[in-house]
Symmetry: none
Subunit: 189 residues, 4 copies
């Protein structure tokens, strides 16, 4: 992958996201991506080694730029408020970028995903785990195994985003608060 980015990589990523969201990860073809990105199909192979690498690259790009970037929050706030900030960020992001989420969903369960990409997930999970552990120390979070608590947060946001996108419900501050209440009630001690 070339470092000198002419915006071509951006275009390729955008095209890939749009096409996947519209037609599914099956039915996503390299030439369709090229066409949508307004480049020749051969050019894709200048920037990426192949389809698999392109998709993995995009996955990591989205996870890092899109999801993980929302984490480094304001460390001075109380835990619950930090969690709320994250929750709000993530939820907003996922819903206003439903195409990206659609790509993430499909890619995650596909056979394209590499071992390395899977680890990006774990990074996110790691951050959550840290929060939960801190909460447990302060006795404000349930003293349960993280394997029980993390799927709740992770599964809830995911499904919430998917549900709201499918039903075309728009996100209000009130809804965000309500969902956080639900989430917090679930994990609080």
């Amino acid at each position: 992958m070339r470092l000198k980015d002419d915006g071509k990589i951006e275009a390729i990523f955008e095209a890939t996201i749009a096409l996947t969201s519209a037609d599914g990860l099956d039915g996503l073809t390299m030439s369709a991506i090229a066409k949508k990105a307004k480049i020749a199909s051969g050019t894709l192979y200048i920037y990426f080694e192949g389809k698999e690498q392109l998709l993995n690259e995009l996955y990591r790009y989205l996870m890092l730029k899109g999801t993980l970037s929302l984490l480094p929050s304001i460390a001075h706030l109380p835990l619950k408020q930090q969690l709320f900030a994250i929750w709000s960020n993530v939820l907003k992001f996922r819903i206003s970028n439903s195409s990206q989420v659609a790509f993430l969903h499909q890619f995650r369960y596909s056979s394209f995903i590499s071992e390395e990409s899977r680890k990006v997930d774990e990074q996110f999970v790691g951050h959550l785990a840290a929060f939960l552990n801190a909460g447990k120390k302060e006795f404000i979070v349930k003293d349960m195994d993280n394997n029980i608590l993390i799927p709740l947060m992770y599964g809830y946001v995911n499904n919430l985003a998917r549900h709201f996108t499918l039903k075309k419900i728009s996100l209000t501050e009130k809804i965000i608060e309500q969902t956080f209440v639900v989430c917090w009630d679930a994990i609080k001690a």
Copy 2:
């Protein structure tokens, strides 16, 4: 004359589930299914119109036999206990049939899914909604929109099943109870 053999459909379904779980829904080929099911590839087209129909049929089969069948529970018990029964059933089922769950995941986000298949989901959701509404009337469930509560239950089981399967954690009664506590705390009034 040979009679159409229903066992063959079972074999086809099993082969499809196993292959999807192992190699992904991409890379799932009709001939691979046939080979694994120990029939000729042409035979698939006696039982199904094509790949798309086969997958949709399997999806509905799994949803109905596998998930929805767990719902019609013991109506005489208090709500919370009914929910626990369902929760326990669904969780056990999904975890002990992780290949099926892998198929369901991948299929649901694929472009193969038909409008009709999507409605099966809604059936499940409908049942959940009924429970939640009953709980709201008894003031034991949060008075929030179902669009907020359902993704919690749905997303949590899904992710729990996926998480436990990936991490190869086995399900104990204690874990089931703990996860239910988390779930119940989330939705209870």
Copy 3:
């Protein structure tokens, strides 16, 4: 081919003609024939060795019953009148059995036709040649090689039948007479 004819062979032939006329010789499948003839596809192989033989059998059947049977005319009449009788017969037959003609056309140019079937054509041609030769002896037919005269008669009826069928023009006695005039003018001395 079984001799004991239950009418099944008739049904098979009719089905084959109808389907070929409607969908072309390409797209003609054994199971479609069976279905239309209201028998099982396996049964076709009791009466015929295979598709090729079935088609050749039908071709010869149609040529013999349909076309050649119109030839043995009234030998006592003058040649021109005999020719007119044949002309009229053949034309009427071909137009009122356009499906059969469609089959004959397509089969004749297909790769299914066997050497033996090709010879049936020659029988018909032989009869025509005999007439023409007789005519030449009486100096009422052009003294030209039959290879020049026969294609005229043969090609004309064929094309006439096809043309009238396509244009859905119905055959009147007057038209028959006119076409015969044209034909006769062409070959007469």
Copy 4:
């Protein structure tokens, strides 16, 4: 970058004609065409949308380049001589390109032919009709419906070409003249 090569289309057409003439339109496969044209099978789909389009394109190409191009004859000559010129041209062409004629025959009666392709036929017929009408005005052609006269010319050339090709008779000027005499006698007033 390689440029689309028009010679490739020629090669594809030639391969298609040769194969159809040899093995029939049934049994004509895309991969056989590709092999004979010395290209990869996928390349066919760069130049044509599919088998059907390829065949229709070839049909129109042959009709236009091959048959219709012979029509715009010398308008200053008397009608009969114009007709002779056309007759001679068409006959020569069809016999010296018997493979093309074989293709045309088979394609015309196949289910591949599109509505649009059928209209090319009508163009040819239209030209003939114009000639005949002119001839009728000059009282040198029979005052009969064109539906009666056209099949004669059309059917005669067709069958003549087919007959001579099958019998492997070569075309001499004398034969051309004789066949024209026959044709002219048929339609002349």
